[in-house]
């Protein structure tokens, strides 16, 4: 591997996980991140070196001026001796050794000033971390401080604004963080390629939601690509082609045209209902996380929103929290857009692997930690603000709330009590709202699945979240590549749990919905329908395809197929059964399965 990792050869093909289909062609834009602040790598030409070094010196001068002003203020307000730390910072900016290294980095590695600051200060900090003296080890934080100041000044010069891209780009990064996505200019983003990430990682969900071709899990693509390199992403094949030659590029451009044409042909059924050949009506709702997605729902034929991931509102702005007004505006939009079909708002699912609220430290085992409803019940003011906004917006439509990660009945009872309190407060204060707000429980924890009959007695509806349910049921971290093969949606344990939930919900006459990646895969969606699920919530772009699959099957036959499947011993056996039976039952839709290996 070694030397080949840095090879600059043309037509280099890398294979990874095919998480979001489509062909994307553009110039690589490499992103790197440290903490929340982002640093962009931009390769520069020999002719640009002098200009970049001048930029660096301007930034150094500006940072020095800032520090001198601060130093004077500190000296006046706190006394002269306290200003010395700032003097140390000033000296760092004047340190000829450091400045020399920065210039050297720009000159020899042809990188932008931001990247040089990041690389050089990282090296200096690494040296400090090896010092035995704990006090001096701490000085690394002074260097970090100085580096951050420089980066801020540099970015203030408006050299790079990810929301204003000028050409078609392929984003190349270690991962796609939701916060990065929030800033990007989507008119120009043609694809994602990343080092890490699994099939159901946030990166994958985001790419699919935005219908942007993506290949994840490429291990070292960030080291193989420089900003500005041409890159082709073949999202269906799971391939990234680096620096394609003209003939190869032509092949992919032609393929992209074909695909666009095929997709245009596939959508027209959107006004037809999702109904099986024997007349069973299935409801297909949309999973939504980003605001721009909402407008595309009618196009895909979604019947309301089955899951609005409300925490996505936080993404690009933590630690600032969205105000009640902002939330009200957004929820009102959801309510108006979905009308009678309604929208389920999942209350903030923060913490865990998603997002950490300020003041809460990272946990050792976040998937089992303080997250979702546990966090909402602990930080009640945030929960109450969200509820007020939902209750007010509910006047414009039919909203529902769903509580994520409920594991005990007490959590449901406490949440309901808080909801009632909020309603009373609003009524007392004569705040206009609509109190008819169904409260549902997300079934994601095996304990809740086993106790579903008791939850059904106290909740207005149940919503199965398969992504997390599978993860907790099978004890598999879906983003850990070492065990991701054990993340098996068709594991008989998963099928049995879902069948159990269907029985319980029918007995209690409580609506049951299901949301998760499974619902977006036509074969798995049919399996779910065969188990008795009548309402599926999925990414909007997958709705037409899943609808076509449903329109090609007979409920009675799929039902008996699934009762066979539940007797099988492994996910593999279930897959084999479905892959051999479905092309026979619905040749028109599933014929392709028969020829796949």
């Amino acid at each position: 591997m070694g030397s080949s990792s840095f090879s600059r050869s043309r037509d280099t093909v890398l294979r990874g996980l095919a998480v979001s289909p489509g062909i994307g062609v553009g110039r690589a834009l490499r992103l790197d991140e440290r903490g929340r602040q982002q640093f962009y790598f931009i390769g520069i030409s020999a002719a640009q070196v002098r200009g970049e070094i001048r930029r660096l010196h301007q930034a150094l001068a500006q940072a020095r001026t800032q520090l001198q002003e601060t130093k004077v203020r500190v000296a006046l307000e706190l006394g002269y001796d306290h200003s010395y730390i700032l003097d140390a910072h000033l000296l760092m900016l004047e340190d000829e050794n450091l400045v020399g290294q920065l210039e050297h980095e720009i000159r020899t590695r042809r990188v932008n000033a931001e990247w040089a600051v990041r690389d050089v200060t990282d090296r200096v900090m690494a040296a400090y971390k090896h010092v035995g003296d704990p006090y001096l080890r701490e000085r690394a934080s002074d260097i970090e401080d100085v580096a951050t100041r420089l980066m801020t000044v540099l970015s203030g010069q408006a050299k790079f604004d990810p929301s204003k891209l000028e050409q078609n780009v392929i984003i190349v990064s270690q991962d796609i963080l939701p916060s990065t996505v929030a800033e990007l200019d989507f008119n120009c983003v043609r694809g994602f390629v990343t080092d890490g990430g699994g099939m159901t990682s946030h990166s994958a969900i985001i790419a699919r939601a935005l219908k942007i071709p993506a290949v994840l899990g490429l291990h070292d693509v960030t080291r193989r690509v420089r900003t500005g390199d041409a890159v082709v992403v073949d999202g269906a094949a799971g391939e990234a082609i680096l620096r394609p030659t003209k003939p190869v590029l032509r092949v992919y451009l032609a393929k992209r045209e074909d695909e666009a044409a095929r997709r245009a042909r596939r959508i027209p059924h959107h006004e037809q209902p999702a109904e099986t050949l024997d007349g069973v009506r299935i409801r297909l709702r949309a999973n939504v996380e980003l605001v721009p997605e909402i407008d595309s729902l009618p196009l895909f034929g979604a019947e309301g929103i089955g899951l609005y991931r409300s925490e996505f509102m936080f993404l690009h702005r933590l630690p600032e929290l969205p105000s009640e007004e902002e939330q009200y505006e957004l929820y009102s939009k959801l309510a108006r857009m979905t009308g009678d079909a309604g929208a389920s708002i999942r209350v903030f699912d923060l913490g865990g692997d998603k997002l950490t609220l300020p003041g809460f430290e990272a946990e050792q085992n976040p998937a089992l930690g303080l997250r979702a409803v546990r966090l909402s019940l602990k930080v009640e003011p945030i929960f109450r603000t969200q509820l007020r906004a939902i209750l007010r917006a509910n006047r414009h439509g039919r909203l529902r709330v769903v509580l994520p990660l409920v594991s005990t009945i007490d959590e449901l009872r406490r949440a309901k009590r808080i909801i009632e309190e909020v309603k009373h407060e609003m009524a007392d204060a004569e705040v206009e709202h609509n109190a008819a707000l169904p409260v549902g429980v997300m079934i994601e924890v095996p304990a809740a699945a086993l106790m579903a009959d008791l939850f059904a007695a106290e909740a207005d509806f149940l919503s199965v979240g398969t992504n997390d349910l599978i993860q907790y049921l099978l004890a598999v971290d879906r983003t850990n590549e070492n065990v991701s093969h054990l993340y098996q949606p068709l594991h008989p344990a998963v099928l049995r749990s879902i069948a159990h939930l269907v029985r319980v919900a029918e007995a209690a006459r409580v609506p049951l919905e299901l949301c998760g990646e499974m619902a977006a895969d036509p074969l798995q969606a049919i399996a779910l329908v065969g188990l008795g699920i009548k309402t599926l919530s999925l990414v909007p772009a997958a709705i037409p395809l899943v609808k076509n699959a449903i329109r090609s099957i007979e409920m009675a036959r799929v039902r008996s197929l699934m009762s066979e499947a539940m007797k099988l011993a492994s996910s593999k056996e279930v897959e084999e059964l479905l892959a051999s039976e479905m092309p026979r039952q619905a040749p028109e839709f599933f014929a392709a399965l028969a020829i796949q290996p």
Binding site: D87, A88, D95, G132
Partner: protein, 96 residues
Amino acid sequence: MQHHRVTISNRLGLHARAAARLVRRATQFASSVELEREDTGQSADGKSILGVLLLAAGQGTTLIIRTEGVDEERAAREIAELIRQGFGEEWSDGVF
């Protein structure tokens, strides 16, 4: 070339404030200033705060100051003096 041998006497050693003072003083001279830890042989440019801090020279460490240039004599003397006096910071609260 001049060289002086001097032992760090102040309680906190060459911490940020002391290092800042030392570097400020060193940069006032035209001569080059090199500091070397006698025990480890590790050396640093006396005009580079990052280098001086990295010496991690605590109380009791002996440094060799080497200066070279037009004002080398005065430079060596004054820097040695600053270190010997414990950077005039016996009132140091140790915060920085």
